[in-house]
């Protein structure tokens, strides 16, 4: 009976394509455009804003951080679905674990930093503390590590690429 119930549930799920996905292409790497670009450019604009004393750049960084904070949660939702369908093999299993752990942590860290930025902006929108900037730079560094791990999953291990999915289905890996 449970087997039959399982089959019914399975039949309701969309079929998986040649990349082992229920949709055409991976969506997670598209959503992370907005996390990566916005967090990194926020640091760049903060630094330029401090050097050239243009406080309107601080507002640009702040709004970019808000976008990054919203985007990271969407990125995690798609990341979890696609990680669940990725069938990692060999040492890519460890990398996927690190990538997931840092990803969830980044969501919390990014939310806290954006909240902190909101409060400091309420106090004085034309000033940015060096303390915030250093934490901001550390955030950018952490994002770069996370990108490197995600890059490894795609460009070294080829998760969700046709040849690797075929090899997994054929039982070669």
């Amino acid at each position: 009976m449970y087997l039959q119930l399982g089959l019914v549930v399975m039949s309701l799920l969309p079929a998986l394509n040649e990349k082992n996905l229920p949709w055409i292409d991976v969506i997670h790497p598209i959503i992370v455009h907005f996390v990566i670009a916005m967090t990194l450019i926020a640091v760049v604009f903060d630094v330029i804003g401090i050097i050239t004393k243009r406080s309107n750049l601080f507002e640009v960084s702040f709004l970019n951080l808000i976008v990054a904070t919203i985007a990271i949660f969407i990125a995690i939702i798609f990341g979890q679905i696609e990680a669940g369908l990725a069938n990692p093999y060999g040492s890519s299993r460890d990398i996927l674990n690190y990538h997931s752990t840092i990803g969830w942590s980044l969501a919390a860290i990014l939310s806290i930093i954006t909240g902190w930025r909101y409060v400091s902006r309420q106090n004085n929108p034309n000033n940015l503390s060096i303390g915030f900037l250093s934490v901001d730079i550390m955030l950018a560094f952490l994002v770069c590590i996370q990108v490197y791990l995600g890059d490894k999953l795609v460009w070294i291990y080829g998760l969700h690429t046709v040849p690797v999915v075929n090899a997994i289905r054929d039982g070669i890996i």
Binding site: K19, I24, D25, V26, P29, I30, V32, H33, F34, I36, A37, M38, L40, I41, V44, F45, N56, L57, E59, V60, L63, N64, V67, Y89, G90, S91, S92, Q122, V147, Y148, D151, K152, V154, W155, I156, Y157, G158, H160, T161, V162, P163, V164, A167, I172, I173
Partner: protein, 215 residues
């Protein structure tokens, strides 16, 4: 007969040309690059992210009169000028970084060894996907620069004293370009996911290696 001879000679030449990659083959890894991770796909995050959010914030600035009440209801203190500042600075950053995106893209395309006999979801082979993606990339760089100059003129000259810093034509163009970028990006994504360009695992698999012992 003569025609056939010429044709045969022509094919002979074509098959005889060795790829220029073979000259530096010894310094390339299994992914056909001198380094592990391709650079172009990482810079693409910046190009697309910055451009898309620039257009989005210009929309937010243009539609500000409608949002005002919602923003007040949420007690979220932002200004129209702030939205348009994001629109301007982000597209400026996008067009700066895109020069590097295109440059690394061409470097890595010169070294690309796509898997043979594969067709993408729209029925294109590897070389036509690469040509469209390469030429399209230069066109998008050109369009991006043009949009940035247009955006700058609107900000500092044409619409200097206007609340809405961009024209509807600019926003419409931005939307169309984003759609084209989406398609263009998909071509690039297929070069990786279907043709296995610069993916270590795919390249090793095609050459008949056992991944479990290597990776």
């Amino acid at each position: 007969m003569l025609f056939n001879n010429i044709l045969a000679k022509y094919y002979y030449f074509l098959s005889d040309i060795s790829s220029p990659i073979s000259e530096i083959k010894s310094s390339l890894g299994p992914n056909d690059l001198p380094y592990n991770i391709p650079i172009h796909p990482n810079l693409v995050h910046l190009t697309i992210g910055l451009f898309a959010i620039a257009i989005a914030f210009d929309f937010a600035g243009a539609l500000y009169p409608f949002e005002k009440r919602i923003l007040r209801f949420l007690a979220f203190p932002v200004t129209r000028v702030g939205f348009h500042d994001v629109g301007w600075y982000n597209i400026l950053a996008a067009s700066f970084i895109t020069f590097f995106t295109v440059a690394t893209g061409f470097f890595e395309m010169l070294l690309a060894v796509p898997i043979g006999g594969v067709k993408s979801i729209i029925g294109q082979g590897a070389i036509s996907t690469m040509l469209w993606h390469g030429v399209g990339g230069v066109l998008i760089l050109f369009i991006l620069i043009t949009m940035t100059i247009w955006r700058g003129y609107q900000r500092f000259v044409f619409r200097k004293n206007f609340g809405r810093q961009v024209s509807w034509a600019y926003l419409f163009s931005g939307t169309i370009i984003l759609l084209i970028m989406g398609l263009h990006g998909s071509l690039g994504a297929w070069l990786a996911s279907d043709f296995g360009v610069h993916i270590t695992a795919d390249q090793l698999l095609v050459k008949g290696n056992d991944l479990t012992s290597i990776l």
